[in-house]
């Protein structure tokens, strides 16, 4: 077992590495610094929880890691590639390859079945494969609900469809934004177990959460306050690490 604290300073082993990342937004009121000089790394197979109060820069950080945005200054490496060097089109492609999103509100398309919602991610990534999409749904325990519309599924089931959709293109990073924030206790437990299983299988999970119980499941917590990052020590073993 390697010491994670050492890995935090070794971007060469990291699947996500931030080096002095700052993100500023210009508005009428002047320049707003949403994230300031953030430097940390997340290694492959790690489960990291990002916590902090509203306005602390969590969404900015998620957007940057999710390749939905680019830093104003500093370097952000995802799977070894500096996202600042990518054109907008390359960034779209890169996002489809590298990041699977799990949303608090699930964001399933209401007129598409569970299966089609999973296939939608395949469509925008490369090409649809119904067999593979069905397998992904079976993996989250929803093989029997493949033809159902989101409105015919419970909140927990919808979140599992969302997870299947995030997994379908085999991205190295799962980016979960409050994955249980909209679920009741029973479904929260199901989704937490699913994330634990995925972590056990070696998936890298970056999870934004307000929930201390969910945050406790992560190996490491990155706390944000007023756009500044405070890394917390490892709370559990790193199950799988990339070379």
């Amino acid at each position: 077992m390697e010491n994670l604290t050492d890995l935090e300073t070794r971007p060469d082993c990291a699947v996500i590495a931030l080096n002095g990342v700052t993100r500023e937004y210009s508005g009428r009121a002047g320049v707003v610094r949403a994230l300031e000089d953030a430097s940390f790394s997340i290694v492959a197979g790690e489960w990291v929880a990002i916590t902090g109060p509203s306005g602390s820069g969590k969404s900015t950080l998620v957007n940057l890691i999710g390749c939905l945005d680019r830093p104003t200054r500093g370097e952000l490496f995802i799977d070894g590639v500096n996202t600042a060097s990518l054109s907008p089109t390359e960034l779209d492609r890169f996002r489809a390859d590298k990041v699977g999103f799990i949303f608090q509100q699930f964001h399933l398309i209401p007129y598409l079945s569970a299966l089609e919602n999973v296939m939608l991610a395949q469509y925008f990534h490369s090409m649809t494969d119904e067999k593979e999409a069905r397998a992904a749904l079976e993996r989250v325990g929803l093989g029997h609900r493949a033809e159902h519309l989101p409105s015919e599924l419970s909140g927990g089931e919808q979140q599992r469809v969302c997870i299947a959709r995030a997994l379908i293109n085999h991205p190295p990073i799962l980016l979960a934004d409050e994955p249980t924030g909209n679920l009741d206790a029973a479904n929260q437990k199901i989704v937490a177990e699913l994330l634990q299983n995925l972590h056990a299988q070696g998936h890298t999970i970056v999870m934004v959460t307000h929930d201390p119980e969910m945050a406790a499941l992560a190996q490491r917590r990155i706390a944000l306050s007023h756009g500044k990052v405070f890394c917390h020590p490892v709370s559990g073993p790193v199950v799988s690490l990339r070379k």
Partner: protein, 434 residues
């Protein structure tokens, strides 16, 4: 998946799509109607204005000064130069032959004789084509004559038949004034120059022709003793409105510009081509009618282009509003697609395809509706054109134009909403819709 998203969009946003489609339909209906009228208006207006006379007159170059008093050619009949009637067939061979819709040669002469009732006749007469087929041997003949060229002439009786002319008799009509003066009516006759003129009708022209005898051209030539001679030819031609280029002297233009001038159906260039084929002729446009036609055409065409542009602009705004609402409703979907890795192009393609399909469908319907509207309007505005023919209802060349315009309107109308949606931060869209 693309078609699934496309079809679902139409199924789920029926009202929005119907609204945008209706805007395109109305816009393209108006544009089709205006374009259809604009492309045929020249013919229609020409037909309407043809009722006011010829727009080109041809006379011998050696006889440039017409000596007319009160519309009556007072030049001695025996004097002056003549053109050849047989040369008129060459008009069917000029570049703009198909634009010539009427030809009416004239030969004025003076008659003296007696009516069947014994009254002395001392009157001017004109030899004319009444119902003549003009052909140069190839292609279809042009049915023409003074009757068709002067639709306001009213006949009490019937027009003379050219074939009824023989060495000693011919048919003729007499103007109302002269008929009244000589107490003539249809069925009477006049003895002149050793032949009998059988009066087949009394003609009312509203001008000095009412004091004349009108007889077939061949008979007039025989009586005057100048076979194949004509003094003047009135020509009605479909022309392009006169502009500054039309007034250029072709002989002063460069060869290239001269060719362009020559290949435009200006009254001047048609007159020029007539001069080329009829030796010794001078052809000039009758400026009053020609200019009226040009001015009317210019104004109406301008109005139609303005209406078309306004209709398209209105349709564009309506499409823009409908698409903006439709896209706003699907912001979360767009945000999701973007977060799943869809490029801006991929998302834009989806919405533009929707707009394109809408344009094809609504534009196609607009073309049909507009064609019908043009026919309906045409039938009511241009009474001289007669009833609408089914075959002329649709103008196929307009179809791609209308579809292209519909696509342009739909795409231009959709672009602001699509651009706005694509420039929005997908994560913000996802959070806003949460």
């Amino acid at each position: 998946m693309f078609f699934r998203l496309l079809m679902e969009s139409f199924r789920r946003q029926r009202r929005r799509k119907a609204l945008a489609g209706l805007a395109i339909l109305l816009g393209t209906t108006a544009v089709t109607a205006m374009l259809a009228l604009a492309t045929t208006i020249g013919d229609h207006i020409h037909q309407e204005l043809a009722a006011y006379g010829a727009n080109i007159v041809v006379y011998p170059a050696a006889d440039q000064l017409e000596v007319k008093v009160g519309g009556v050619d007072v030049k001695p009949v025996s004097g002056g130069a003549y053109l050849k009637e047989s040369d008129l067939a060459k008009l069917r061979g000029i570049f703009w032959a198909n634009n010539i819709t009427g030809v009416s040669p004239e030969l004025p002469l003076h008659l003296t004789g007696k009516t069947s009732a014994g009254a002395d006749v001392d009157a001017n007469a004109t030899g004319l084509w009444f119902d003549h087929s003009l052909s140069n041997g190839g292609g279809p003949a042009l049915k023409t004559g003074s009757v068709a060229m002067h639709p306001w002439w009213k006949i009490d009786g019937r027009w003379p038949a050219e074939k009824a002319t023989s060495a000693d008799s011919t048919e003729a009509v007499v103007g109302t004034s002269l008929a009244s003066h000589l107490n003539l009516k249809a069925g009477d006759s006049i003895q002149t120059a050793g032949r009998t003129l059988h009066i087949t009708g009394i003609v009312s022209t509203g001008d000095t022709t009412d004091q004349q005898v009108l007889l077939p051209l061949n008979a007039a030539q025989q009586i005057a003793g100048i076979p194949d001679a004509i003094r003047r030819v009135e020509i009605s031609a479909r022309t392009k409105p006169e502009d500054s280029f039309a007034r250029k002297d072709p002989d002063s233009l460069s060869p290239k510009m001269r060719e362009i001038w020559y290949c435009r159906p200006y009254a001047n260039s048609i007159a020029y081509q007539i001069r080329e084929v009829i030796p010794g002729a001078r052809a000039e446009q009758v400026r009053r009618v020609e200019q009226s036609e040009g001015n009317v055409l210019k104004r109406i065409s301008g109005l139609m282009w303005f209406i078309s542009a306004a209709a398209l602009l209105a349709a564009g705004f309506a499409v823009s509003a409908a698409m903006a609402t439709a896209i706003l409703e699907r912001q979360a979907e767009i945000g999701l697609m973007r977060s799943l890795g869809a490029s801006k192009g991929a998302v834009a393609l989806l919405f533009y395809t929707e707009a394109g399909l809408l344009a094809l469908f609504a534009g196609g319907l607009g073309y049909l509706a507009g064609s019908g509207l043009a026919a309906w309007l045409g039938a009511r505005i241009f009474t001289e054109s007669g009833p609408v023919q089914i075959g002329t209802l649709l103008i196929p060349v307009l179809f791609p134009v209308v579809i292209a315009l519909a696509l342009g309107v739909a795409i231009a109308g959709s672009t602001p909403a699509i651009r706005r949606a694509l420039t929005s931060d997908p994560s913000a869209i996802l959070r806003a819709s949460a």
